[in-house]
């Protein structure tokens, strides 16, 4: 079964076509990445899944239901911009969000206790939210998202603004949810994170889908890249058969055109610069992102 299905969904804000003819499928149990530059339509798409916005046309099925507001209680959502009631106590606010998701107060309080222990926050249960550090606040928000044991968890830019320790924390939570068989969707514009965690991705730009599918499939659709370490003049790297040079100074990622003789190309490069190492590999999501978004913008 699929957790989410979109068929030709459109969303306008006034004259702005925020989401255009969007169709994709999120399989149950997947860790699914929404990738795209800022303003691509990721948040609007997520808000439609959460029934915060409604599509102007198209079909949107969430957990098999064509009226997503009916399954709101089985979804967990952590928006990119999130806050807490400063004056409320930690356990109180988590319980409150649980009851808003339809839990009985007592059940929510029990679940809050368990999650606070699991996240190492049991000492902070009676602290006011305004007393929390940023990382602790982040944990409280995540607990509030998970308290009702949702079948589908949506995290909008969960890594933005986090220090490395908290990035790791959030990543572990996502992987843990995956182990429990939950479907997790998260949006990001940092490709390295998506590459590490996602089974499948959706790449959108300007409200339109560019690519979607399982990560290996997506990568397979793109020609290989050549990773090199070199010394010499970078302008010599630009030659026939190379679509794009992602130069990093001492190393570079070269996107190779489909059907190019890579052996001949490497011999050419050896003459052009001092080549210290080279690897032929499938393209990174970053490379795919830059290439496809660049093409769609062009």
């Amino acid at each position: 079964m699929n957790s989410i299905e979109l068929e030709s969904v459109n969303k306008f804000f006034g004259t702005h076509h925020a989401v255009s003819d969007m169709s994709f499928i999120v399989p149950e149990g997947a860790v699914y990445g929404f990738l795209g530059p800022n303003g691509a339509g990721k948040t609007s798409t997520i808000r439609m899944i959460m029934s915060i916005l409604y599509p102007d046309s198209g079909v949107l099925r969430v957990l098999g239901d064509e009226q997503p507001e009916r399954v709101k209680d089985r979804l967990g959502y952590l928006p990119e911009e999130k806050g807490l009631y400063k004056k409320m106590k930690v356990k109180e606010i988590i319980t409150y969000f649980g009851t808003l998701k339809g839990m009985a107060r007592r059940a929510a309080a029990t679940a809050a206790d368990q999650l606070l222990v699991r996240f190492g926050l049991d000492d902070a249960a009676n602290k006011r939210c305004e007393e929390l550090s940023k990382g602790m606040g982040q944990k409280v928000q995540i607990i509030s998202t998970l308290i009702h044991d949702p079948a589908l968890v949506i995290l909008d830019e969960p890594f933005s603004g986090l220090d490395p320790i908290n990035v790791e924390l959030v990543r572990d939570i996502i992987l843990d949810l995956k182990r429990q068989g939950k479907t997790v969707i998260f949006s990001t514009h940092i490709m390295e994170q998506a590459e590490q965690i996602c089974d499948s991705i959706l790449l959108i730009n300007k409200g339109q889908k560019l690519i979607d599918g399982r990560v290996p499939e997506v990568k397979g659709r793109f020609s290989s890249t050549l990773l090199i370490e070199y010394e010499g003049d970078a302008s010599n790297l630009q030659r026939k058969g190379i679509i794009r040079v992602n130069n990093m100074g001492n190393s570079a990622e070269l996107s190779i055109e489909e059907g190019t003789d890579t052996q001949a190309l490497m011999r050419e490069l050896m003459d052009a610069v001092t080549l210290k190492s080279f690897t032929l590999k499938e393209p990174s999501l970053h490379e795919i992102f830059v290439r496809t978004v660049g093409e769609s913008d062009a």
Partner: protein, 508 residues
């Protein structure tokens, strides 16, 4: 609905459990009490204005002093300070309480009898008539020998509490004293004051405070008038009759069309609605302001989206409005309890007599009921308008500009309070009752009238319909506005939002 109540309950708790909330509730009556008491204290601690008189006739001042003494004696009867009975001479103390208990007209006749050879009222008991006749001379002598200080202990109304006559007659010395502010003013009574009023002068460096001038001028005028009457060979009784002012007896029509006498309670009843309107207005203002602040805080704290992932925008809006309504009801209930305790409980428990008896007004279920009902209706109407507009703003500053027109309308009832209180069933009051934003305040204002049943029914229906429309419009704006970031929209864009259809599947 259940979720809406969860939101409402949280909102209510958040407000009600802060110390500031209860402090604010307690401060209100304290402030009112201060507003009531401070002028009285200021009045009581006022220093008497000293003045002097140059009497060129040599006779006017003796008569004026005599009249001052008589007026003060009148205050002894009408405005006696409790607890000073020991100061009275024994012959007066015996029947003084009986005299005190008489009405002012009869007391006036006693003063006339004592000082002007007038007749005693035939309604007096024989014992009292005998006592007064027997001790007349003793009373006059006792009174005339008392100093200003001694007299002023009997009553705060004695003239020496306000104006103190200094015995200085040298004009240079007087001018110096005015200059050095030792003296507030001096009068010159011209030689021919009785003949043509000429030569009357009032000298002071303060010509704005006219209390002394008016008071003394009236005393001298009375003497001059009496003199002119007697010079014209008019009989003293006829002169009195000419001088006698007409005093109107306050009467109102009772329910059965019979006339009833007006006392202070009736006047309190007439004006009590104004007090209720004032409190109604404050309550509505406080609570709609609270609603706006909470909405914008929630928006700027980035809580809105989290909430909307669990509840619909309409439940969120409804929950907030209900929650703050609960807060408002708590406030007005607390105020009403305090008012009941003060106006009914305190007099009963401590046996203290309040200057105005408001117990009948405070215990009137009609006033209390309309107060609570009009609070709710007024609050709901403005809450809907303001929460809609507030949802479009990211901070209070933006909100202040946007809600200004609504707040101007909210100010109107304050300006209307007194004119409507004067004429609760006048055409101004009647017309304004049908303007829904003003209905709660104007109808409360008219409660003493009271308006007819038809008026109550029609205006309330109009108001309820307006509230429903306001909610419908607010919902349209709120569901878009609450997620909006950046510059708040202009009037044009707001109208565009209002024209968009509201269906479940409608664009946001």
């Amino acid at each position: 609905m259940n979720r809406m109540l969860l939101i409402a309950f949280r909102e209510f708790l958040e407000n009600v459990r802060t110390k500031g909330f209860w402090f604010g509730i307690l401060m209100m009556p304290v402030v009112l009490l201060l507003v009531g008491i401070v002028p009285i204290i200021v009045e009581n601690t006022r220093v008497a204005k000293s003045f002097a008189v140059i009497d060129e006739t040599g006779v006017v001042m003796d008569a004026v002093k005599q009249e001052m003494s008589i007026r003060d004696f009148r205050y002894l009867l009408t405005d006696f300070s409790k607890g000073e009975e020991d100061m009275l001479p024994d012959f007066l103390a015996v029947f003084f309480p009986e005299v005190r208990a008489l009405n002012e007209d009869t007391q006036e006749k006693i003063v006339n009898f004592l000082f002007h050879d007038g007749y005693l009222d035939t309604s007096l008991t024989r014992r009292l008539t005998n006592q007064l006749t027997q001790h007349r001379t003793a009373i006059i002598e006792w009174w005339q020998e008392l100093s200003d200080e001694e007299r002023s202990r009997f009553s705060g109304s004695m003239s020496s509490n306000y104006f103190r006559l200094m015995d200085v007659r040298n004009i240079d010395q007087l001018n110096e004293m005015i200059e050095s502010e030792e003296l507030f003013a001096y009068f010159v009574i011209g030689r021919n004051v009785v003949e043509d009023g000429s030569g009357a002068k009032y000298v002071s460096n303060n010509l704005t405070d006219r209390d002394l001038e008016i008071w003394f001028g009236e005393l001298v005028s009375q003497y001059v008038r009496d003199q002119r009457l007697s010079h014209s060979d008019i009989d003293a009784d006829i002169a009195d009759w000419i001088n006698e002012a007409v005093s109107f007896e306050g009467v109102t029509l009772g329910k059965d069309g019979e006339t009833e006498e007006v006392d202070s309670t009736d006047i309190a009843r007439q004006w009590a609605p104004v007090v209720f309107v004032y409190f109604l207005w404050i309550s509505v203002m406080i609570n709609t302001q609270m609603l706006i602040t909470n909405t914008i805080e929630e928006k700027s704290n980035k809580l809105v989206e989290v909430l909307l992932s669990s509840v619909s925008a309409i439940s969120l809006m409804g929950g907030k409005i209900i929650g703050i309504a609960g807060t408002g009801l708590t406030i007005i209930t607390a105020w009403l309890i305090m008012a009941l305790a003060f106006f009914i409980g305190l007099p009963l428990a401590a046996g203290i007599e309040l200057p105005i008896d408001l117990s009948s007004v405070m215990a009137d279920p009609w006033f209390l009921g309309s107060f609570v009902m009009y609070f709710l209706l007024g609050y709901l109407f403005y809450a809907a308008l303001l929460v809609g507009l507030g949802s479009l703003c990211n901070n209070l500053k933006e909100a202040q500009n946007l809600i200004m027109p609504v707040q101007l309308i909210q100010m109107v009832p304050i300006f209307l309070m007194i004119p409507i209180g004067r004429d609760p069933n006048g055409s101004l009051a009647q017309v304004l009752s049908y303007i829904p934003p003003l209905t709660p305040f104007v109808m409360m204002n008219r409660a003493a009238g009271p308006p007819s049943t038809e008026e109550y029914v029609i205006t309330t229906l109009l108001l309820i319909v307006s509230i429903i429309i306001a909610f419908w419009l607010a919902a349209k704006v709120f569901r878009v506005g609450i997620l909006m970031t950046g510059k708040p929209p202009g009037v044009k864009e707001i109208f565009r939002l209002l024209r968009a259809p509201v269906t479940r599947r409608a664009s946001n």
